[in-house]
């Protein structure tokens, strides 16, 4: 049971709230197994649809001349994410008993069997099947690379991005994941990250920062020391993206309960939604104050900020604390987007703000709970930060030094749709 739900269980036991059936000595009933599994499958679907959400968010916030390229990247990422996770990632992330730092279980997903021998009700105490486990975790994996995609949009070479993706999703994400969710050393010292403010979002966010730094800004973004708005080309697509991401978060957080425990799971959904709602309010207020007029993209980023913020502690904070986390992350998101722009780091979709900045805040906020220490959270944030930022920086640097990382100025000016794909995203005359 070297899975996340170890924590769910421990936590519930801690509160003596309701004993999980799997603590009761006798095994779970077939009914419980099946219904737990239904819940986890539904959560998997919801996390899947986040990829469409990310694709639309990124497309909408960038220019139409790069749309085919962005859609292509996002289509490729989910394929790469699932396949690398099937062949490597799943075994890296859940190595079973290991030294706590690096391990590998070669047989995690039995690719050549119809039904694996260790599958069935005994797999995770009846909380979900082997296959559901793989698919749910696999859907998470691709997320880290998708986050990077947004920050490097409009200037990165397609091939270079895919090489980065294969290694970031196939190796780094699951390896670092094992430190906590695989039962590794950070798990041992009491670091808490319920559904991945740090493990998923910050890891993605560090990659985004590394990419944005190494690539430099898009042409025309910072001219004569002034920040130049390069507006996204479609606000309806941005809105579709964010609503689908919120929808997906029901599965991202709700599924991270790792069983269908009625009170536990639904409690997590409440904190999640309240943080999203107050994230919107927080960013609308600050955006209206700072920018004079309320900015739709900020309101939507605020929603995501609240969601990322609550992800680490969705099962550890009270509803009121969730609202506060939402308000704070939503408010900070506005300031961070503007600040990162001032620092001349060009992040077209606000990925660094939403996933890195708010991921860190959210992870630290778990310490509001008496059961989690601030120290453990800091150690977790730092160790994930150092390793993933370094990895991304080195990986991008090697790619830069070898096959190159950035398209030519001319290609960027014409747009990646034409230069990388020989296609246009919108065709009116034909």
């Amino acid at each position: 049971m070297n899975k996340k739900n170890k924590y769910a269980t421990a936590f519930l036991a801690l509160l003596a709230f309701t004993p999980m059936y799997c603590l009761a000595g006798e095994g779970p009933s077939q009914e419980l197994y099946w219904l737990n599994n239904i819940w986890m499958m539904v959560a998997t679907f919801l996390v899947f649809i986040m990829h469409l959400g990310f694709a639309m968010l990124e497309t909408g916030l960038t220019r139409s001349k790069n749309t085919v390229n962005i859609l292509f990247k996002n289509t490729g990422i989910i394929a790469i994410g699932l396949l690398t996770y099937a062949f490597v990632g799943f075994g890296l992330m859940y190595p079973g008993d290991f030294n706590g730092i690096f391990g590998y279980c070669a047989s995690a997903l039995p690719l050549n069997e119809m039904f694996a021998t260790d599958a069935g009700i005994g797999y995770a105490d009846g909380c979900y099947s082997l296959w559901t486990d793989f698919l749910f975790q696999g859907m998470f994996a691709a997320t880290a690379a998708t986050i990077v995609s947004g920050a490097v949009a409009g200037r990165i070479k397609l091939g270079s991005f895919f090489i980065f993706t294969v290694l970031y999703v196939g190796f780094l994400y699951p390896w670092l994941g094992s430190w906590k969710w695989g039962g590794g050393w950070l798990d041992g010292i009491g670091f808490y990250d319920f559904a991945g403010s740090t493990l998923v979002h910050s890891v993605g966010g560090w990659g985004a920062l590394a990419g944005a730094l190494l690539l430099g800004p898009r042409i025309g973004k910072y001219v004569d020391g002034k920040v130049n708005a390069i507006p996204g080309h479609s606000m309806p697509l941005v809105t579709i993206g964010v609503f689908l991401l919120w929808l997906g978060w029901f599965g991202f957080n709700g599924g991270s309960a790792l069983s269908a425990d009625a009170d536990y799971t639904s409690f997590v959904l409440v904190t999640t939604c309240l943080a999203a709602a107050s994230g919107i309010v927080g960013s609308i207020v600050v955006s209206t104050l700072v920018q004079k007029k309320p900015d739709l993209t900020m309101a939507l980023n605020g929603c995501l900020a609240g969601l990322v913020g609550i992800t680490a502690g969705a099962d550890m904070l009270t509803p009121m604390q969730a609202i506060i986390v939402g308000l704070v992350t939503g408010a900070i998101a506005v300031v961070a987007v503007i600040g990162i722009d001032k620092a001349k780091i060009d992040d077209p979709v606000g990925a660094i703000t939403v996933h890195l900045v708010c991921g860190i805040i959210g992870t630290l906020a778990v310490a509001l709970s008496p059961d989690v220490t601030f120290k453990a959270q800091i150690i977790g944030v730092l160790s994930y930060g150092v390793v993933s930022f370094a990895f991304a920086l080195i990986l991008f640097s090697i790619i830069k030094a070898t096959i190159g990382i950035r398209v030519s100025a001319e290609e960027e000016t014409v747009g990646l749709d034409v230069t990388e794909h020989a296609m246009s995203s919108y065709t009116s005359v034909s």
Partner: protein, 114 residues
């Protein structure tokens, strides 16, 4: 023959068309993706905290080829219908038109214009 180019506010299109039809001017071409910069101040957009001065505002551009004897009627119809009295109402430019050909029939000159 004259070629009239008129920049007007998008909202005025309906009125201008009606006014032209009343003067029996039925032929015209309209360009819709036009941005105009003039005395009308424009506004500030504020996208993600980066101020963006937008002094290019949406306009329509109408192009009408007319024979000399219809010129004044056409100009009157446009100015009458497009005028709101507010800055931004637009401009009309008149050029000499050397030749006109109706593609369908091959007719040329004044016969081809209407």
């Amino acid at each position: 023959m004259k070629l009239i180019i008129a920049y007007i506010q998008p909202v005025a299109l309906k009125a201008v068309k009606t006014a032209l039809f009343e003067k029996e001017i039925y032929k015209m071409s309209v360009m819709t993706d036009v941005l105009g910069c003039g005395q009308q101040k424009g506004y500030h957009e504020n996208y993600r905290g980066a101020a963006k001065e937008v002094n290019l505002l949406s306009k329509l551009r109408i192009e009408i080829a007319v024979n000399e004897d219809h010129l004044q009627d056409t100009l009157d119809a446009i100015t009458g219908a497009a005028r709101s009295g507010k800055i931004g109402d637009g401009k009309i430019f008149v050029l000499d038109l050397g030749q006109c050909i109706r593609i369908r029939t091959g007719e040329t000159g004044e016969d081809a214009i209407g």
